[in-house]
């Protein structure tokens, strides 16, 4: 901090405070292994990886443990670690259609191409707290048991493992999807421009869609959901609540790089991700009510809230691009959603501000010294203003 050089003392207290924390937590953390965190708290680990912008489950679990479950602190640790790593290469562009699914929901259509695959979820279960060892408070009745047995009897032959067509393709085939304005060549005449690189390039406004998508993929989940919800119920009102989820998918994609000797692409591993397409009816003034538009959301790991809010905001940003509200929205996405930046600024308020505040006090005292006593008005006598 900026005052560190100007203030002597306090080092002993800092060391003692860190030692106290270590003493309080080390015993428990020793008994909680990285494997246990990965097995029991995978969604927390996924969230940390997504907000840190680094995929490595084991390292993220180490950070989560060290941060004592404080996800913002874990993100800070992981980002700091990430900043020390050499950048070897760009992956081959990942095609989301190649996802190997373990969950797929289409809220827009009862029978889309491919299955409504619930996967592992508690979306449809009552939220009843259940302590370890306690019996199921809502055990399945005979009818449910029969249904479960019937489901278990299904075979892979009846339901082959394949990646279904995404719902936007169905809309496009039925001439119901407005072509995306970013399709084809861009303003520079490029069909496939390089993606915006937030790690190396400063934020510039107006932001490209590539930059907006990257910023949202890295965003703090709560901030992103909050921004989306504000756009629904808040004072801005720049999107509508009729957004429909065309796809929510969770699964695994291959990560490929070029072999430096052969030049061929090869798979080096898999990354899990959550994908969403949000569908909007173009029913605002000046739009084509015969068409829909769509937004895209993608989050590292399993994080459906993030993917859905990102998709809805991508669609909104696309629809209002170039307007005053659109400019504000782009600024908010690019400058306010990063958890590390926001939490860092907030946390810094705890650091010594003795000099700046002393300066403010002196200005306040000087202002008082030269101030003309205010003229009493009728409002000043109101009860609201009474001391």
């Amino acid at each position: 901090m900026s005052y560190a050089g100007g203030n002597r003392g306090g080092t002993e207290a800092i060391v003692a405070a860190e030692a106290l924390r270590a003493e309080q937590r080390t015993v428990h953390q020793r008994t909680l292994s990285v494997e246990a965190v990965l097995g029991a708290l995978p969604e927390a680990v996924d969230r940390v990886m997504g907000e840190a912008g680094l995929w490595d489950e084991e390292t993220a679990a180490v950070a989560f443990l060290q941060a004592a479950g404080d996800s913002a602190e874990a993100v800070h640790l992981l980002r700091a670690h990430r900043s020390t790593l050499t950048r070897f290469a760009f992956s081959e562009p990942i095609e989301p259609d190649a996802i190997v699914l373990d969950r797929r929901i289409c809220s827009a259509h009862r029978s889309p191409d491919g299955p409504q695959l619930l996967g592992s979820t508690v979306d449809y279960s009552p939220r009843l707290l259940r302590r370890s060892g306690e019996p199921d408070p809502l055990p399945p009745n005979d009818e449910l048991l029969a249904a479960m047995a019937s489901a278990e009897a299904r075979t892979s032959a009846e339901h082959p493992d394949r990646t279904p067509q995404r719902f936007t393709r169905y809309l496009a085939e039925n001439n119901l999807l407005s072509p995306h304005s970013e399709s084809g060549v861009d303003a520079s005449g490029l069909e496939d421009p390089e993606p915006y690189d937030l790690a190396l390039q400063p934020v510039r406004l107006p932001a490209s869609r590539s930059a907006l998508l990257s910023a949202m993929a890295l965003a703090e989940t709560g901030a992103l959901v909050g921004m989306w919800y504000r756009s629904i119920t808040g004072p801005d009102g720049y999107t509508d609540e009729t957004v429909t989820v065309g796809e929510v998918r969770h699964g695994e994609v291959d990560l490929s790089v070029r072999h430096p000797h052969t030049g061929e692409a090869l798979v080096i591993g898999q990354v899990r991700m959550t994908e969403c397409e949000a569908i909007d009816h173009l029913n605002d003034r000046g739009e084509d009510p015969g068409k829909f538009t769509a937004g895209y959301g993608l989050a590292l790991g399993h994080n459906e809230r993030k993917a859905i809010s990102m998709a809805a905001l991508d669609s909104a940003a696309h629809r209002i691009r170039g307007t005053a509200l659109g400019d504000e929205m782009e600024q908010s996405i690019m400058l306010t959603l990063d958890g590390l930046a926001a939490n860092g600024f907030l946390e810094h308020l705890k650091m010594p501000h003795y000099v700046t505040f002393r300066s403010m006090m002196e200005r306040a005292e000087a202002a008082q010294a030269v101030a003309v006593p205010p003229v009493s008005t009728e409002d000043d006598t109101r009860e609201d203003y009474a001391e």
Partner: protein, 148 residues
Amino acid sequence: MTHGENIAEGLALAESQAVIEVADRIVAGAESDGVVVHVVKPPETGIVVAQIREPLAQKRFILADVQTVQAEVEIAGVRGWSMRMGSDRHAAMASAVCEAEYFRNGPHRGQVQDLAAKTLRAREQKRAQQWRSLVPTIVEFEEVLERS
């Protein structure tokens, strides 16, 4: 995909312990045969930038970085390179040794091929098993029949 890429892929995905065991045999054999094993690039942990081609406008954006570890060796003048996800430096070194052995047609080439093939087969089997466990979670709506 060429056969070489199949090998590199199988080695990148192989269990750490399995690839280290094969590499240890290769290095021991090379030493006893007087073959020089030279480390070109010691294992280093770094990142690969994961870029996505989003499906609506077919444009790329950056999703995140992926932690990886890479290494490069040379056996009898033939180079082997590896990149694996994570930070297991020992396994990265072992994968590079295996790849070099494969490309130089060394005496353990068959073991490298077997390991790569076994790894890729195990991956397919694991997915088939996972899909079987997912099938019961597919929604089958009941039809409401109209009375004629």
